[in-house]
């Protein structure tokens, strides 16, 4: 047995390791491209995006400095709005959808059945179906600011989140909640002190899926928000690249780099949770 463990890396597996190492490097080229071009003068980006920065083309962090205020809108403001919208939306979705899922799972009433089937239905409806009318509704209800848009996210994201929570809540033993109830816990305390802690793995996986969605979402905030006042990072990037006669690619790459760095840092620290969350979110069926 012991010999087998020592021999676990066969020549084939070593060859595969080399192959995948090369493939991994190739895989990272696009990100590497952003890094090198964010350090080059604009005309050199256009000339040859694959050339490494040299003495002539290297501009240090000038593109980054320019990027902060490029397009007459402070980039940090977009970052702040993106951060707030993402955190608030994910928090709202996690809290209210887990509560609703528990209610639907435990109470067998017409209301909870209707809600359940509507959630299922909403999962196959593409955003394009509701996007124009959602914009009108959000405008009318004054939900068109970064402070209120999380409500729109809660509404449109509820279907999938409730469905995922339900899959888990249904597997929780009822006896624990009965015991809590016998010990004098009301439903509110039962939920927050007993059910919610047991939901932790699902909270993480739903949280990660929603986080990736809201942080990168372009169309919903683009349509709902008043764009003259509020931008998120994806809108900001699109604005820089899309609406300018002459695009400063160097500065655009710097802004893109600034928007990728926080994601990569979060990924480094929460990699295990993110990968687990994706795997768990997928086996919902």
């Amino acid at each position: 047995m012991k010999k087998k463990i020592n021999d676990q890396y066969t020549p084939l597996s070593k060859a595969l390791s080399v192959f995948f190492a090369v493939l991994s490097v190739v895989w990272l080229i696009p990100i590497f491209e952003v890094v090198i071009n964010s350090l080059k003068k604009n005309e050199y980006v256009n000339l040859d995006p694959f050339a490494l920065p040299n003495e002539e083309s290297f501009v240090g962090f000038a593109n980054y400095v320019k990027g902060m205020t490029f397009g007459n809108y402070p980039f940090l403001q977009s970052v702040a709005y993106s951060l707030f919208i993402t955190v608030a939306s994910v928090a709202l979705i996690l809290l209210f959808c887990s509560m609703s899922a528990w209610y639907i799972a435990r109470v067998n009433s017409t209301m909870s059945n209707i809600f359940y089937y509507l959630c299922l239905f909403s999962m196959i409806v593409p955003f394009q179906m509701v996007m124009f009318t959602l914009t009108f509704t959000a405008d009318k209800l004054n939900l068109n600011t970064p402070y209120t848009i999380p409500i729109v996210y809660l509404g449109f994201g509820a279907g999938l989140a409730i469905f995922m929570f339900l899959g888990f809540v249904k597997g929780l033993p009822l006896e624990i909640e009965e015991a809590a109830s016998i010990d004098g816990c009301g439903p509110v305390r039962t939920f927050f002190n007993v059910v919610l802690p047991m939901l932790k793995p699902t909270l993480i996986s739903v949280g990660i899926l929603e986080l990736m969605w809201v942080w990168n979402d372009y169309l919903l905030p683009y349509l709902v928000l008043d764009r003259t006042k509020y931008m998120t990072i994806p809108i900001h990037v699109q604005y820089l690249k899309g609406s300018y006669g002459t695009v400063d690619l160097g500065a655009t790459m710097a802004v893109i780099m600034l928007s990728i760095i926080p994601i990569i840092i979060v990924y480094m620290f929460c990699q295990k949770h993110i990968i687990k969350g994706v795997a768990a979110g997928a086996v919902k069926g």
Partner: protein, 300 residues
């Protein structure tokens, strides 16, 4: 016994919760009405109207739908989307499966490779589009051309972009599926002298069928709903003339709906009608796909 258990749980758990319905279910339900139910109903209604904003809507019956089916741009976008979906579903799933299969074997560095392959998923579609348009333009420059010069470049460019983005995601799902294949089944196959490909096709693939269902579902719906990447990479360009109508050659359906709406206020109703057709198409495909691959899953 069973009966008394059920009724006690009803008394102990269900009845007290019911009183708290306003707290537990009302906030989500209210947001759900605002964010989904009402826009959906209004969307169906407005697809039969001429409108700028909902309050000035005028009923026109099936006019909008008639216009949609005569719209060369929409039909072109439909065929683009169908071709794009077929190519990307096959490419992404085959590659993701084999990468996952290789990474679940004993291999040095498997965790690092997994980390790298998954990373592109964390970057938003708009940003990805701009990164890749720079790369493709840089490559095509050597051949004295550019990405939006030819619809074929734009189509395959989008396929490459989306493969790069989504292979890692699907790989994670396949790895989870492969790790769940019962070890004793693999051992039984080994003892019975099954060859590598027999083990793969007769034991492993039937066992990872739930992952295949999920991944084909995700790649199918992702490619039909593709918007950000399409907009940022080519924006539907180049414009070409086809049967006397100007169409955006690399536009997919979602982008076509969006750009139709922005032509002028006379097109709002047409765009909404396109959106309804789009919804029906996505819903039918999603349900059919689930039904077809589900039936191939093995029950354990």
């Amino acid at each position: 016994m069973a009966k008394s258990k059920k009724s006690s749980s009803v008394n102990l758990v269900q009845r007290p919760i019911k009183k708290w319905a306003p707290l537990f279910i009302l906030p989500t339900f209210a947001a759900f009405l605002i964010g989904f139910v009402w826009p959906f109903i209004q969307g169906i209604y407005l697809s039969f109207c001429n409108f700028n904003i909902p309050t000035d809507a005028k009923w026109v019956g099936l006019d909008n739908y008639a216009k949609v089916f005569k719209d060369a741009g929409f039909l072109n976008a439909f065929w683009n989307t169908a071709a794009f979906a077929v190519v990307s579903i096959i490419l992404i799933n085959v590659l993701a499966f084999f990468i996952a299969y290789a990474l679940t074997q004993k291999m040095r560095g498997a965790n690092i490779f997994r980390t790298v392959f998954f990373m592109p998923n964390l970057i938003g579609g708009v940003v990805l589009g701009y990164i890749w348009s720079m790369i493709f333009d840089g490559i095509l420059k050597n051949y004295a051309t550019y990405l939006t010069a030819n619809p074929t470049y734009g189509f395959w460019g989008l396929v490459i972009l989306v493969a790069w983005q989504q292979i890692g995601y699907m790989m994670i799902i396949y790895i989870a599926g492969l790790q769940a294949v019962p070890e004793d089944m693999l051992e039984a196959a080994r003892i019975d002298g099954a060859t590598g490909s027999q083990t793969l096709f007769r034991v492993i693939i039937p066992n990872v069928m739930p992952s295949i269902t999920t991944c084909t579902f995700l790649t199918l719906t992702n490619s039909f709903k593709m918007f950000d990447q399409n907009m940022a990479l080519t924006g539907g360009m180049p414009s070409i003339m086809e049967n006397g109508a100007k169409i955006n050659a690399t536009e997919l359906l979602a982008l076509n709906i969006f750009s139709t709406y922005n032509i002028s206020k006379n097109y709002h109703g047409v765009a909404q009608a396109k959106a309804v057709i789009f919804f029906i198409l996505v819903a039918v495909l999603a349900i059919t796909q689930q039904y077809m691959t589900r039936s191939k899953e093995v029950q354990q």
